[in-house]
Symmetry: C2
Subunit: 302 residues, 2 copies
């Protein structure tokens, strides 16, 4: 059990995204004591929901650490959130009457990068539902991509899914050659024909399309020409992001996000060779960020 003294040195790390909010509780030796997950933590989809998710995931992480008796006001929190790159949302979150001892707010990209490189300088390419590149070197943040769907986020899960749907529709019309993706996609979505497919996919979001990304990689790995073209085009965009980040000479570069296992083998060999495994998760990056900011505060005070 932690003594009263140690409890005062507990840190909370939050990674709040569009679909879920992850929390981690760590001690001053950066040991993970417990984790928790709650609903959406992106303030873009609502301040109330985001702040509720952050508090709930924190309580769950404390329970998981057998520290349910610890009050949230004992925790120093690093909070990484999608959306707070927008000034209006950053201000709104800063004004939150939060239940923690102290709070340090960062973007989801910064905490992901800090997590991947254990708080040291570095860069990350991210391909999940969306896509982007980010580096944090000598205190300077740099971002590329992250433009959103359907106008951006090339090489992301949503982009791969949309390309699949486009090519299947074109091939049903005889405009491009047919693909083994045709039957797979129609079966997966329970559609008899292109009319049914068009009805099913009309108005769908990035999250929906991202669920279709795997079938493109499955087909490409079987040598399907149409799928291979899509995978090569998506990989080439992530190569471009890596080369742009590389110009800033990051000490380490990692690839993260849900599509990484499928997409990484398709990147250029020289880029694959440069990649380092991410050292820890974004929510750990949030703790490292909080500790770093706390150290700066104490330096100013002393």
């Amino acid at each position: 059990m932690l003594s009263g003294n140690n409890i005062k040195e507990l840190f909370l790390g939050i990674d709040g995204g569009g679909s879920k909010c992850k929390a981690i509780v760590m001690n001053k030796d950066n040991e993970i004591l417990g984790t928790g997950i709650a609903g959406p933590g992106n303030p873009l989809h609502g301040f109330e929901q985001a702040t509720n998710s952050i508090a709930l995931s924190a309580k769950l992480a404390l329970e998981d650490a057998n520290l349910a008796y610890v009050d949230l006001s004992e925790l120093t929190a690093g909070v990484g959130l999608a959306g707070v790159n927008l000034p209006v949302l950053f201000k709104q979150m800063q004004a939150w009457q939060h239940p923690f001892k102290q709070i340090f707010l960062a973007t989801d990209l910064l905490i992901a990068c800090l997590g991947a490189h254990q708080g040291e300088d570095g860069a990350v390419m991210i391909s999940g539902t969306g896509s982007c590149g980010f580096s944090y070197i000598d205190g300077q943040q740099f971002m590329i991509g992250a433009h959103g769907f359907p106008h951006g986020d090339k090489g992301s899960g949503a982009w791969f899914g949309l390309q699949a749907a486009k090519q299947v529709l074109l091939s049903i019309d005889g405009i491009v050659e047919s693909s083994i993706m045709n039957d797979v996609l129609l079966t997966k979505l329970g559609c008899k024909d292109d009319t049914a497919l068009v009805e099913v996919i009309a108005g769908k979001t990035a999250t929906y399309y991202a669920q279709l990304a795997n079938l493109v990689f499955d087909a490409a790995e079987k040598g399907d020409k149409v799928a291979l073209e899509i995978v090569k085009e998506g990989a080439e965009y992530i190569n471009s992001i890596a080369r742009t980040l590389g110009k800033r000479n990051p000490p380490r570069i990692s690839m993260i996000g849900g599509l990484t296992p499928r997409l990484k083998p398709w990147l250029a060999k020289d880029i694959q060779a440069q990649l380092s495994e991410p050292l820890s998760a974004p929510e750990v990056g949030s703790v490292l960020f909080a500790r770093s900011e706390l150290a700066k505060q104490e330096l100013v005070k002393s």
Copy 2:
């Protein structure tokens, strides 16, 4: 003034789309007596609104023809509507307790094709907000494309606008070469930089993107490489539609839709050479459809 007898031989033609509903009143000699325009006439966006728009545009057309004293119940109506290719909407519109003498319901594509070829067999390529091909030969209808945005409708206004936004965002990130479209697009949308652009275009509809199509053609005509690639790719898709329609040997083929004046000069020379000017508007096609269906009814009765 029309005599009582002539009034009984008045025809109404309706072209009901997603943004407006056009009406035309014609006599038995196919002379245009008056026209009217009301709000959205596509039942996909609401039955009440569509039927109100149809009735209102019809009254406006009668007023325009100085026939305000004529009751709608005197009119034989041909009604072409976007959306009624979906069985559920066709049934809903068929069940309408309409105010006309008689109503004949058709898709917007059929009446556009009948209008373009004065009721005779033929084919049309359409590029407006969306894109598709359609033919009507020996009583057989055939459709290609018309898949919707953003997964389909290649070569349409919405597709050109989206491609412009994509390329501008990629070039701001240094992934593709810069284009004269960059400044034009940012200025047109009142944006200072890519962050502002992403905020402005997030979640926008096909209609919004279609308003950006002209700037792609403007840039291409000035020799801009990025714009030229987009225009060539869009034109190639419409070429493919034309070649697919051509296999059915339509006696005439026309290109219609709002983007026609900009896109037609970029089509393959052999396809441009095959194109005939559309002879009349879709709402005239609706009247021709109604008269043709009426003639079939009278044949059955006699």
